[in-house]
Symmetry: C2
Subunit: 560 residues, 2 copies
């Protein structure tokens, strides 16, 4: 292997275990593998000014002058997460322009900002899950130094940062890892690409590549936590699972940097082992997303019951996810055609270990036309979604713009510069939805720049009364959650539900606090007395029991 550095070739020497070693100083570089003439970027490149196929550029993250020296971190327990995509969060789509909107998040009551993947991907815009150079920060977002400014600015406002990272596959373009070594698992692939080699020969090195990347965000970029994409797609037969190894390494770093570092898994397994501490023989991941909550909420509000929504068509399903955490807990999942999941130990597991949402990037963006709940629901039902989410025992997460009922869609967009790949991506996407019965002409072309533009938040919506009314509701709900210890009580055993499947109402009791929801189109009267702390409809009345107008809900303090 030869190092190409600022135009000159630098010989490297072969070392044991297949490594090559070279020593030189410079700026732009690449590697000529096996006497190839085209240089390849460094797998641990920090910058790719000319994209994922170009030369790497040296960047030393220690050169940044951090202002967050008093930052002692922020625990996830009691937090409220806000998921955002840098490219569409602001019109400019950069990290620096995102900084200008952080005060909006702080005012909203957010504690954790979760950022969709920012590592280098092919082209100028992309969701981020097509990343190939995991150690870089996408240049169109501003690159690594802008990322440091962003994290610093978050900390200045008391906001912790959770970075979404993808270790289960690599993007379709710019993945030169196989040329460097046995990074990929030859035999297995998932929906999105080749799996990583986590348990085959030489997999110690591959795992180190992943672990070092995780630690890089937390250490060099002062990030407070990681959201681990689709961990169910990690293929690992080892006795010590990669996730447990990651949790161990992160615990070492946490003691060193003296900040809580949080690991959140996106897991489709409904396996409590994922979120059990290592001391309890679990993987030691702090929290995990639970789609079950989303599905139960979505079905109860929209009436959609196709595909994976099938089993969730009942008020009982909603009561179950609130009271038990997982819906499928060693029960038949019709969509999967098999028994799924295992029950959470309600006596001992804190409720905040589940991260739940009414909408997220996937549940919006992976719909045919990327439509939010705003496209389907009226203001009353949107308010109900907010109420149920933000009074739930789990850790709530919003998707950017949700707080003002943004009307902009969030669609699947790519910008593959290679015509063939772009075409294949677009065709595949459109065909997928055509098979599901969609008119191919209404499914947006992911390669069309308009699809990306259309997905950007329109902040001017906040000038509109209906939108700012919704924002005020979200603010009030988050403030209520903050002020009411019962709502963040981490004991599942304090959650008691009561519901009527026919009349379609649900009461969630948390000690003296009751959250009452009317999912029907009729007024319901519930046997609940007390002070209304918040109601989504001004018609809510407690003169004789609680009278709830159609599609409305209220939080009641039954002590007063």
């Amino acid at each position: 292997m030869t190092l190409l550095l600022d135009g000159s070739k630098v010989e490297m020497t072969s070392a044991p275990d297949g490594w090559w070693i070279g020593d030189a100083e410079g700026t732009d570089y690449g590697y000529l593998i096996d006497d190839a003439t085209d240089p390849r970027p460094d797998p641990r490149s920090r910058r790719q000014p000319d994209g994922v196929h170009g030369l790497s550029r040296v960047y030393d993250p220690a050169s940044y002058d951090w202002a967050d020296i008093a930052w002692t971190g922020r625990q996830i327990a009691g937090g409220v997460i806000y998921e955002l995509h840098i490219g569409t969060f602001t019109p400019e789509g950069t990290l620096d322009s995102a900084i200008e909107r952080l005060d909006h998040l702080a005012d909203l009551g957010i504690t954790h900002v979760e950022v969709l993947p920012v590592n280098g991907f092919n082209g100028t815009h992309n969701w981020g899950y097509d990343g190939v150079l995991w150690y870089t920060v996408q240049e169109t977002y501003g690159g690594p130094e802008a990322y440091q400014r962003f994290v610093d600015a978050c900390h200045a406002r008391g906001l912790a940062v959770i970075q979404d990272v993808v270790y289960n596959h690599l993007g379709p373009s710019g993945n030169y890892l196989p040329e460097y070594g046995p990074y990929l698992h030859e035999a297995s692939a998932n929906t999105w690409g080749s799996s990583l080699n986590l348990d085959g020969e030489h997999s110690d090195t591959v795992r180190k590549y992943i672990l070092d990347n995780a630690l890089m965000w937390l250490r060099d970029y002062h990030v407070d936590g990681l959201r681990l994409d689709a961990v169910h797609a990690l293929v690992d037969s080892r006795a010590v699972n990669l996730l447990e190894e990651l949790a161990e390494e992160v615990a070492v770093l946490s003691a060193h940097v003296r900040r809580p570092l949080t690991l959140i898994a996106e897991s489709d397994l409904n396996d409590p082992r994922m979120i059990r501490p290592i001391e309890a023989n679990g993987f030691g991941i702090d929290a995990q997303w639970s789609d079950d909550f989303h599905h139960a909420l979505h079905v109860n509000l929209t009436g959609e019951t196709t595909g994976y929504y099938e089993d969730f068509d009942s008020v009982k399903a909603l009561a179950t996810v609130i009271e038990q955490g997982f819906f499928h807990a060693r029960e038949l999942s019709t969509f999967r055609g098999r028994t799924h999941g295992r029950a959470i130990d309600r006596e001992r597991t804190p409720t905040w270990r589940l991260v739940t949402f009414a909408q997220d990037h996937d549940q919006i963006g992976n719909r045919a036309i990327g439509d939010r709940l705003t496209a389907t629901l009226d203001e009353n039902h949107l308010a109900l979604a907010a109420l149920i989410l933000l009074t739930a025992p789990s850790t709530p997460m919003l998707f950017m713009g949700e707080e003002w009922a943004a009307s902009t869609p969030w669609q699947f967009f790519t910008s593959h510069p290679e015509e063939e790949l772009g075409e294949a991506t677009a065709k595949g996407r459109i065909a997928e939805f055509e098979r599901m019965g969609w008119d191919p002409d209404v499914v947006p072309d992911p390669q069309d720049p308009e699809t990306f533009q259309r997905s950007k938040l329109d902040w001017s919506e906040l000038d509109d009364e209906a939108h700012s009314r919704m924002l005020r509701l979200y603010q009030r709900l988050i403030a209520l959650r903050r002020e009411t210890p019962e709502l963040t009580d981490p004991r599942f055993t304090t959650v008691v539900t009561e519901f009527d499947e026919d009349a379609r109402w649900l009461i969630v009791r948390r000690g003296p606090i009751a959250v009452a929801v009317n999912l029907s189109d009729d007024v319901v009267r519930l046997d609940l007395q007390g002070r209304v702390l918040l109601a989504t409809d001004p018609g809510a009345d407690t003169a004789e029991g609680l009278e709830l107008p159609a599609a409305s809900g209220a939080v009641i303090d039954t002590r007063s």
Copy 2:
């Protein structure tokens, strides 16, 4: 029962379960129990301006205007604790004067300030373990508002506060709880007084009295953690142990206030269940003191082998506490005359769950003359104590003044205003040491005000070169711990020791970092190569292996 409020009697009404209810506004108050003529203070009194026998005064902690709004708490992992006693930390002995010394602690590299009990006790000065009105802050320290200023000032400097609290007994004077209800356990008492009724009839109320007090410090006074005095003296046969219940309640509060709240037990049980998370079927206490570490270190440095020091007379004992945590782990404890303890699960338990020290208030103050290590050891051996403590895998704790080898003693002092009680206390103390062979004339009289005065730190010692040299060593050691991830690595499995019992040297390896200690009076040469990161003796040399002068130690990076 009658309420005596600002000189007037206010009738109260009897309520179910033996409670009495009254409603009135005023300032100074007490209760006349069963038509007594002498008012008793409120068991939940917030202020006792005239001492523990006087009237209670209303204080609303919400009236304080906190400046620490950006404080997000501080985790214990990676921390360095500083134990201090308000009355003797400064010449003035007040919370406000302690604030003036906080910069010293921040400069030293401390992260957590642990304060000996501050709740109301009998008299003007006392260690604090004779507290009777647990909800008050001792007036001679400045009372509750001064305490709030102190915590606020700590947070402003990035220092977390751990409050020492005593729930295993009540002080000998001013304990009116038995007049109010069945607070005490009739049948059992410990060394210090009557036990609390934790599992008898009406004990739910007693437990609530304790739990509410714990939550008060964390919530109303923004404290970051509690040190629970002598939990082995809590008599509790319930299936849900009081400590587990406390850990649960504190977790509820932690999610509400969104700060990590740390519970540290003083436990003499060597029972790993104490520090296992609730999710791992433990009590959920975050960390515990481990005297074993102290004893092994003390014996190896001083040669003292009497009493409970007996089993620790070997380099192996020191190696064991560093590598295994507990020394007695289901083995014979000669002093106890029985098998003691149980092994920590080294594969899964983080090392920081043990809090260890070379000196603490008990190990100094409960010696006959309250002498520190400085009275016995020369500068070289004191430096060795610092080196071993501050490179240990556990969480290190200093006792105030240790960092400059303070020469002032820290003796047992009391100020019981009741002559009889004062005399009994003094006589008991002196007789105890007489039985152990001490000349009664050299044992200080705890009631003599001079004993208290003598125990105050003498900050002018810092002007002396030998003292400030020691301070610089402590600073460098804490900085080295901060900069070297291996030293705070929480995995017991990374700790590997090697020692020679005859030559009296010990090497503790943490990956590539080696801590080498020569406990003998001769030069030793060890088979260790690398860069010296720190040496307690300038004569340490690595030209051919590591040459360590008598009573010296060094930290080596073997990679370079």
